[in-house]
C-alpha cells in the first residue's frame, strides 16, 4: 500500500509538471478553419446594449455570408483591457484580432506601435464616397494621408432633461441661458444640474464649450493651449455653477452621482452620450418624463466635440487580400445594417440611414444626429491628443472640486502634459 502511494505520488507530480508545460502552449483559431471558412476575430469594447446589438449584427452577418465562407467571431473586452491586450497580443498570430473597433481618438497613439494595416483602397473596393458619411467620422479615420479607421458612428454629448421639471419651450440654447434657467430651477432640494467633480462627463461639457466657441486644445504646431484666456473663461463659467455665489449644482458630486440625482428627480439636466437613451428606456417609452436636446451653443450649426467609433485592421493578422476583403465586406455590412446600431444608442456614420423613416422614428436620437452633423473630433491626428485630453480632464476635476482655481488647474495640466511629452523621448 505504501509503495502504491509512493508511485502514485511520483506519477501525479510528473503529470502536473507535464500539464503545466503543455498548458503554456498557445491555442487559437487559425484564419481558415478545416472547412475552408475565413474566421475573422473582431475585438470591440461594446459591453452594454450596444454590445448585444453588435453581437446580433455579427450573428446575422455569419448567417448571410455562410455561402461566401466568411465567419466573424466577436470578442467583447472592456475598452481599457482591450488596448492592453491589443498591445500585448498584436504579434501573436493565433490570438491577435483581425478587426478592432476603437475610438478615433486612440488611433494616432496606437499607430506609434505600428500595428495597423492601412485601408487606402477600401472606398474603391466598397464603392463608397466621403459624401455618404458624416464628415467628422470619415476624416477621423485618416492619419497622415492614410486611412487607418473606417467609420462606424459618431457619439456626441447631449443634454437630457426631466420633463416634470422643465417645459420643452424653456430649454436653453446658450450656456448663459442654461445658467439662468438652472438658477431659477435650483430650489426645494432640486438643482439645475448635478455637475460631477470627479473625472467624468464634465470634461466633455468643458471641451464642448471650448470648441463651440471656436477654441481648440492645440495650436497649429500641436503646442497645448488649453490654458489660454478662452479656456480659462470657460472653466471659470463651469466652476461658477458649482462654487460661485449662486451655485446651481451641489458640490462634490462623485462618479455616477449626477445620474443618481437626475433619476431621483433632484436635478433638471443631465449630460451624457447617446447610449444612455437605452438606460432610460427612451426608445421603448415615448411617454417617458426624460427628454433629450442638443447641448447649448450647438444649435446654430456651431461645432461640437464628439467621439467616433472606427473599425481598424491589424497588419500582423490581415496578411492577404482574401482576408482583407473579407474584413471590408464585414465593415460594409455593419454600416448598411446600422439602423440596429442606432437603436443601441449610437448615431451611424452612414448618412443614408438617417434619411430612412425608421431612423426618423427614433425621436430621442434626433438631438444627437443634429449635433453629429456639425461635430468635430478634436486634433486627434496628434499622437498625444488622448493624453492631453486626460490631463485636461484632471484640470476640470480639480477646478470643480475647488482644489485649484481654473487658471492654476489648467496651467498645471498644460505643464504636466508638456513634461509628459518631453519624457516620452526617453
Amino acid at each position: 500500500m505504501k509503495k502504491f502511494f509512493k508511485w502514485m505520488g511520483l506519477l501525479l507530480c510528473g503529470l502536473l509538471s507535464l500539464t503545466a508545460f503543455f498548458g503554456c502552449g498557445s491555442v487559437g483559431d487559425p484564419v481558415e478553419d478545416e472547412t475552408g471558412f475565413i474566421v475573422l476575430r473582431f475585438w470591440n469594447g461594446f459591453t452594454g446594449t450596444d454590445g448585444e446589438t453588435m453581437d446580433r449584427i455579427v450573428e446575422n452577418f455569419n448567417r448571410e455570408y455562410e455561402e461566401k465562407q466568411i465567419k466573424v467571431v466577436a470578442d467583447k473586452i472592456p475598452w481599457d483591457t482591450l488596448f492592453t491586450k491589443l498591445t500585448t497580443t498584436s504579434s501573436n498570430l493565433r490570438s491577435a484580432p483581425h478587426i478592432v473597433a476603437m475610438s478615433a481618438s486612440r488611433i494616432a497613439g496606437m499607430n506609434l506601435r505600428n500595428i495597423f494595416l492601412p485601408m487606402d483602397d477600401i472606398a474603391e473596393y466598397l464603392g463608397v464616397t466621403a459624401d455618404e458619411y458624416l464628415q467628422s467620422a470619415w476624416n477621423g479615420g485618416v492619419l497622415n494621408g492614410h486611412r487607418l479607421g473606417f467609420p462606424i458612428d459618431v457619439h456626441p454629448t447631449a443634454m437630457y432633461y426631466n420633463k416634470n421639471l422643465i417645459q420643452e419651450s424653456e430649454l436653453p440654447t446658450t450656456w448663459d441661458e442654461f445658467f439662468n434657467i438652472c438658477k431659477a430651477k435650483t430650489k426645494d432640494g432640486v438643482y439645475g444640474w448635478a455637475c460631477p467633480s470627479m473625472y467624468s462627463i464634465t470634461k466633455d461639457v468643458f471641451i464642448n464649450m471650448l470648441y463651440s466657441s471656436g477654441g481648440t486644445m492645440f495650436d497649429g504646431d500641436y503646442n497645448p493651449i488649453f490654458d489660454n484666456q478662452l479656456a480659462v473663461s470657460k472653466l471659470d463659467f463651469l466652476n461658477n455653477m458649482v462654487n460661485g455665489t449662486s451655485p446651481v449644482s451641489p458640490k462634490n458630486v462623485g462618479a455616477g452621482g449626477d445620474y443618481t440625482l437626475f433619476t431621483q428627480g433632484k436635478s433638471v439636466f443631465y449630460f451624457d452620450g447617446p447610449w444612455v437613451i437605452n438606460t432610460f428606456g427612451l426608445l421603448d417609452n415615448p411617454d417617458s418624463n426624460i427628454g433629450v436636446a442638443p447641448l447649448p451653443d450647438t444649435m446654430n450649426g456651431q461645432e461640437n466635440f464628439a467621439g467616433s467609433h472606427q473599425f481598424t485592421l491589424m497588419k500582423n493578422t490581415v496578411t492577404s487580400d482574401r482576408i482583407k476583403n473579407a474584413c471590408y465586406t464585414f465593415m460594409r455590412y455593419v454600416n448598411e445594417h446600422s439602423l440596429d446600431w442606432a437603436k443601441a444608442g449610437q448615431v451611424p456614420a452612414l448618412k443614408s440611414i438617417h434619411e430612412t423613416d425608421e431612423y426618423k422614428a427614433l425621436e430621442p436620437l434626433k438631438a444627437f444626429t443634429e449635433m453629429a452633423e456639425h461635430s468635430v473630433l478634436g486634433e486627434i491626428e496628434y499622437e498625444y491628443w488622448y493624453e492631453a485630453y486626460n490631463y485636461m480632464g484632471t484640470a476640470v476635476s480639480n477646478a470643480i472640486s475647488g482644489i485649484k482655481t481654473p487658471t492654476q488647474a489648467l496651467q498645471e495640466a498644460v505643464n504636466d502634459f508638456k513634461g509628459f511629452v518631453e519624457d516620452e523621448q526617453y
Binding site: F21, S197, K404
Partner: protein
C-alpha cells in the same frame, strides 16, 4: 541491479516532489524577475523592438533626466503607498486579533461571527469599491443620509483616504481573523488554566500566554499584510480614480499606468517595479527583524 535502481529512485524522489513547485517558481517568479531587470534597461512598448537605453529609465525615476514629471509621479505614488502601509497594516493586524479573541470567547455565535466577518473577503475589490461608492456618495449616499451630513467621502481630502482605510479594513479583516482564530485554538489550555490558578487575570493571560503563543501567526500576518498593502491598487483605481488631484494615486497605480495606461512604457514600468520591490523588501525585512529580535528577547 534491482538495488541500484531502488537507490536511484530514492535519490531522485525528493527532486521529483519539489519539481512542480520549482517549475512554477522558475516560470512565474524567477524568469519574470530576471526579465524585468533586463527590460528595465530598455525602451520597449511591447509592439516595437526593444531599444537598449542603459540607465535612462532609472535616471528618469530619480529626476536626473527629462522634465522631472516621471520622478514626481513615481515618488508621490511611493509616499501614498507608504501612508497606506503605515496606517492600514496595524489596523489589519490589531482589529482581526481583537475580533478573533472575541469570537473565540463567544462560542455560541462563533460560526455565524466567522462567516459574518469573513464574508467581505470573498468579494472582489471592484465589487467592494462599487458598493462603497454607493454608500459614500456625498449627495445620495446612505451614510451621509443617515448621518445628516454632506461629507465628501470620495471627492475631497482627507476623506478620500479615510474612505480607502474604511473600505480596506472592512474588506481585509476576515482573512487575518481566520488565521488568528486558528492560532488561538492552538494555545495550550493547560498553560491558561495554570495561569488562572496562579491568579492571572484575562489581560495578563493574553499578554503573557496567548500573545507569545501566536507570535509566529502574527509574524506571518504582518509580512503578508505588509506586502499586500504595498501592492494596493484596486481601491485607488476604482473608488477614487487616484484623485482628488492624484492624492490617492499609489505606486502600483503609477506602475500600472506606465505599463498599460497610455504609451506602454514597459521598460520604465520595470525600472519602477525594481525600485519599488527594493523599498518593499527593506520595509518588510526591517519589520521581520524587529519581530524576531522581540521574539528572541522574550525567549531569553
Amino acid at each position: 541491479m534491482k538495488t541500484k535502481g531502488k537507490k536511484y529512485i530514492r535519490a531522485v524522489q525528493p527532486y521529483l516532489f519539489v519539481a512542480p513547485f520549482l517549475f512554477f517558481f522558475v516560470l512565474f517568479a524567477l524568469v519574470p524577475l530576471v526579465m524585468g531587470i533586463a527590460i528595465s534597461f530598455t525602451k520597449w512598448d511591447y509592439a516595437s523592438p526593444m531599444e537598449w537605453c542603459g540607465l535612462d529609465n532609472y535616471k528618469l525615476l530619480f529626476g536626473a533626466l527629462g522634465s522631472g514629471k516621471v520622478a514626481k509621479d513615481f515618488w508621490s505614488g511611493i509616499l501614498h503607498t507608504l501612508l497606506f502601509v503605515v496606517v492600514e497594516t496595524p489596523l489589519l493586524i490589531l482589529i482581526p486579533l481583537g475580533v478573533a479573541l472575541l469570537i473565540t470567547k463567544c462560542r455560541k455565535i462563533k460560526k455565524f461571527s466567522m462567516g459574518f466577518f469573513y464574508f467581505p473577503t470573498i468579494l472582489s475589490i471592484t465589487t467592494v469599491c462599487i458598493l462603497f461608492n454607493f454608500l459614500l456618495d456625498t449627495n445620495s449616499g446612505i451614510i451621509n443620509h443617515y448621518l445628516h451630513t454632506e461629507i465628501p467621502w470620495i471627492t475631497q481630502m482627507p476623506y478620500a483616504w479615510i474612505s480607502i482605510f474604511l473600505l480596506s479594513t472592512w474588506w481585509g479583516v476576515g482573512g487575518n481573523m481566520i488565521l488568528y482564530i486558528a492560532g488561538i485554538a492552538n494555545v495550550p489550555q493547560e498553560l491558561l488554566e495554570a495561569a488562572t490558578l496562579d491568579g492571572a487575570n484575562a489581560l495578563q493571560r493574553f499578554f503573557y500566554i496567548t500573545l507569545p503563543c501566536i507570535k509566529r501567526t502574527m509574524l506571518y500576518t504582518f509580512i503578508m499584510t505588509t506586502i499586500g498593502n504595498f501592492n494596493m491598487l484596486g481601491q485607488s483605481q476604482v473608488l477614487t480614480a487616484g484623485g482628488p488631484d492624484y492624492m490617492t494615486s499609489t505606486a502600483m497605480m503609477v506602475i500600472y499606468d506606465t505599463a498599460f495606461g497610455g504609451k506602454n512604457n514597459f521598460g520604465r514600468a520595470c525600472a519602477m517595479s525594481i525600485v519599488f520591490a527594493a523599498i518593499m523588501f527593506v520595509f518588510t525585512f526591517v519589520g521581520y527583524r524587529l519581530q524576531i529580535a522581540d521574539d528572541k528577547e522574550a525567549s531569553v
